[in-house]
Amino acid sequence: MRFDSALGLEARRGPLATIAKIVLYGGMVIVFTGPLVGLLVSAFGETLDPTGFSIVPDGFTLENFFRAGEMGVYGYLLNSFVVVGFGLLLQMLVSVFAAYSLARKKFRGMSIVLLIMLATMMLPEEVIIIPLSVVLADVPPFHLDLIGSYAGMILPVGAWGFSILVMTEFMKEVPVELEEAAHIDGAGELRTFFTIILPLCRPALGVIGVFGFTMIWDQYLLPLIVATESSQWTLPIALRSLRSDEDSGIGVLLAASLLALLPSIIAFLLFQRQFMRGLTSGAIKG
């Protein structure tokens, strides 16, 4: 007998067990991927009927994607990429800088800083969204108005406690000797940071990169309060307005939804290992 798992299902053999497994695992795959496969199939489908959503293909056409172009979907997609591109760059830079300080330096007030990071993670962004809209309209002390600007969508996602803490944990593991050696060779602080520490953190950069990407790509409330013109919409918030287009039925909506989903699915499939590692470490540590 084997004791690898709680139920010991894996070890069961025989035709009945095989059928049961196929039904079980197949059923799971269908239930969890079905709606996404349906989206993929229907976005390329020919029907314009609002209920025309199916896993079974009914023809193949790119018409929905052309019509999506006429509705400005690619503009929204571009907005999304601008926000996620600059937002992620800023977030990763801010995270590695902060983590470097938290992992490699000793200074007074460090525990307070850590507490601040944790506090930001406990504070749900939904709770502050109303006052954030007020603050963004009049950023002290310069009275900057960030409403209606990309900066308003990018700056608030620039610092994220999760990536800072993941990065900090990882940087603690980098041997001190390497840093000391670089110092002895006369390398300055920034140079050591960029040429020694950062390259060693590549696996962790993958983790915070892919999590940061999905986090920023999923932003909804923030662009919703910042975008004042429809031309500034990111793709997720534009979706809702695409429903009511009468000529194209739900085709445009489906095509746009597929475009909104694909980047995070691709990111997940490419960086699965980092994703799972970051997920479990983040959740188990709380």
């Binding site: 007998m1 004791f3 690898d4 798992s5 709680a6 139920l7 010991g8 299902l9 894996e10 695992y25 799971m28 795959v29 969890f32 991927t33 709606p35 996404l36 349906g38 989206l39 009927d49 609002p50 209920t51 199916s54 830079l93 995270s95 800088f97 902060a98 470097y100 300080s101 938290l102 330096k105 200074f107 800083v113 601040i116 990071m117 930001t120 406990m122 504070l123 749900p124 939904e126 709770v127 109303i130 006052p131 954030l132 603050v135 602080e189 999923d218 409330l221 997720p236 918030i237 979706l239 809702r240 909506l253 939804s257 909104a260 989903l261 997940f268 499939l269 959740a283 188990i284 709380g286």
Partner: protein, 304 residues
Amino acid sequence: MTTPLPSPGPAPRSLPGRRSGTLTAWLFLAPALLLFLYFKFIPMFEGLRMSFFEVRPYLGDEWVGTDNYRTILADSAFVSAMWHSTLLALGTTVGSLVLGLLLALLIEGKARYLWFVRTAAFLPVVTTMAAVAEVWRIMYHPGDTGMINTIIGWLGIGPQPFLASEDSSLLSIMGMGIWRGTPYDMMIFLAGLVGVDRTLYEAAAVDGASTWRRLRHVTLPALRPVFWILFTLAAIRGLRVFVEVYVLTNGGPDGSSEVLMTLIYKLGLQRGDLGVAAAGSIVLFVATLLLTVLVQFLRRRQPR
């Protein structure tokens, strides 16, 4: 390292060296702290302040004391939104936890195809909520041609109104939440199952324990910490739900699925009642905080 190197450097340099070290530490931290200050802490205090004022842009705010809180707590729409949020959070959390645990137990193992099943099943978690919600809205189409109605039609169940009825709108949103939450809980349970001591299974088998008893006395106790963490995270997330409801029903029909966040959004950004909306946000924050404390308290009281 036999002979310690003579080190003329460190001794005289140590004091200013450490000070500049502290300075660089703060410099490296500055971007993060500034961004947190501007986009987390200032809004938080601003929200607290606003909740005691009648906020009037260009005219100056007027102190109203606890009036905003009284207004919102007396508002029947707010009270039912709180109730809906709680139901939705509880239903989604418990549903995802139970299903996630069940599935984790069923697909625990090392086989190659299990890896495929896990990856495929995990997809709902990483997908963009707004797009997923649009897909579910279409699948929930009320007539008998709607996709889910077609499927339950095969089982002999008549077409359901789903999002279109006051009786089922909240349940339908919950259904999508469970679909999206289950794989996440499943993956965390799977990670927890890896840590279960295999020799205990063996010992249980030697003692002649059934699979059920093995599960009850070995596996589940080992998973208890994971369970608490998932419960807290999911319940807090459930209270703050916005996008799902906003996209699927926007609170309708007739307010039957209005939750805290959709109501706060409408109050603050559509009706411009910023002070009242801020008070609502603070109530939401306090509810989240109380929930966290309560769960921690219950967890401490657990044996072991």
